[in-house]
Amino acid sequence: MVELYANAIVNGLLIGAIYALVATGLNIIFGVMRVVNFAHGEMVVIGMYIGYACWQLLGLPPWASVLVAMIAMFAAGYLFQRAIGNEFVDKPQHVQFVLYIGLALAITGLHAIIFGPDPRGIQSAASFATYRIGPLRIDATRLHAAAAALVIVFGLWAWLRYSLTGKAMHAAAENLTGGKAIGIRITHIFALTAGIGMACAGTAGALIAPLYDTNPYLSSEFTLTAFIIVIVGGLASLPGALVGGLLIGVSEALAAVMISPSAKSFVSYCLLLIVILVRPQGLFSARRTGR
């Protein structure tokens, strides 16, 4: 019994690290631009398909597939923001909603056209390697994916905090008027933000491509999970995304062994409700006050 729970917790933490990366992307986009990316889950699925295509069809090594997904999604996010997104930053929320929902539907449609509705999975010997530590059995692919996700999350924090461009993103998030007044190129900063946010989602997708079969319709579940994490952790808070991701990962895994695998989302929603009722600002309220 103890073994079962211990393994569930470890697996929950590992998937939680991936969730944290997805939620970090959503939070950066919201934190800097006050825009909600309703197509975030679709970006995870794009990453999964990129991972699948690079690894299974082109035979690239896993790390290279992840790198391709990261770079491609960064470029796509940057260009999308420059071409379309920046026009919508000042628009009312319901207009933004239509843009991002439309984007989500378009991406899912494209996936269905290109890859078909059937699940696509990566078959690889590496998928079955495990580490054993005492009673724990840890899937190697899962561990590597989680480690990579954490490295990216912490690397991103450090970059945002210590680089001049990261500080400019912080500045634009906090005081857009002040940022404009000193000549920060807001269109560029917003495009970088979108690129980074979408690259987080896409990279997370590529990291889990060997673990889960991909189909076009996984996206809405990813989006919802990311939203729950962001609300539980605290809007626009980066530590909130990390802690929220790990928390949701573990609680889902425990729910699966204690109640039933289908109780996963139910437990996440309960957690969400509790947080909304008890601490509506989330576990970590962001330092940033908005603009």
Partner: protein, 237 residues
């Protein structure tokens, strides 16, 4: 003297409401020029229109001989116009030093960030001691120093100051105007927008009086200080 900033017949406003109508003024190299006027006269709108933050519906803004009307703000800053905006607009959850360093994010000055930082700290020694303190924790006067310092970090050819004395304690007001006079002595060209008519005209070579979005009087600082209308309406004499 070289004409640095030249504004001809500038009209600008918000969402179809005209605020500035036909404003003409100029700043020559090395000058301090004051624009005085009551609250709501359009002083901030003037600065924002020059900086490309408010759309100019007609008129021409020329800077160093180049037409910069309605250019993107970052390009106008890159050309050498910096500002300490109304309300200071600091990044309150960043440190003083980070606020200043962000002022040098422009290509024109980034390579010399450390030299300019040292220069700003010479001008405002108080900021140096507190460089790691969050900008939001400073007094109004110190925040104004950061806002001016941040503008200077861009190595501007002209700096626009929007009501630097607003909301400051009397001692700080004097210090602020002394600093502005010093800056000008070091060669900086300054467009000073103020409600504090007496002090700002006293340190400016020329001045303009703005009323309801139009220039109603102009002249040397001294002449305006002697002008009956100015004395009555703005100095309470």
């Amino acid at each position: 003297m070289t004409r640095l900033l030249d504004i001809q017949d500038l009209t600008a406003g918000y969402n179809g409401v005209t605020v500035l109508s036909g404003v003409s003024l100029h700043v020559d190299e090395g000058e301090t020029v004051a624009v005085v006027g009551a609250n709501g006269a359009g002083k901030t709108t003037l600065i924002r229109a020059i900086a490309g933050m408010v759309h100019a519906t007609s008129g021409i803004v020329t800077f160093s001989g180049t037409n910069i009307t309605n250019q993107p703000t970052d390009r106008i800053c890159e050309a050498g116009i910096a500002q300490s905006p109304e309300g200071r607009q600091l990044f309150v959850s960043l440190s003083i030093e980070d606020n200043l360093r962000l002022g040098a994010i422009l290509k024109r000055a980034r390579a010399r960030t450390d030299d300019n930082l040292a220069r700003v700290f010479d001008l405002f020694p108080k900021l140096k001691a507190r460089r790691h303190q969050l900008a939001g924790t400073l007094s109004g006067g110190e925040q104004q120093m950061v806002a001016i310092g941040r503008a200077l970090m861009a190595e501007p050819k002209v700096v626009m100051l929007d009501e630097p004395s607003l909301g400051l304690a009397p001692v700080m007001v004097d210090l602020m105007f002394d600093t502005i006079a010093d800056l000008n002595k070091q060669g900086m060209s300054i467009l000073l927008v103020e409600q504090n008519t007496g002090e700002s005209l006293a340190l400016s070579s020329r001045g303009y009086v703005l009323e309801n979005g139009s220039v109603v009087l102009q002249g040397t600082g001294e002449a305006l200080l002697q002008d009956d209308r100015v004395r009555k309406a703005y100095l309470g004499l």
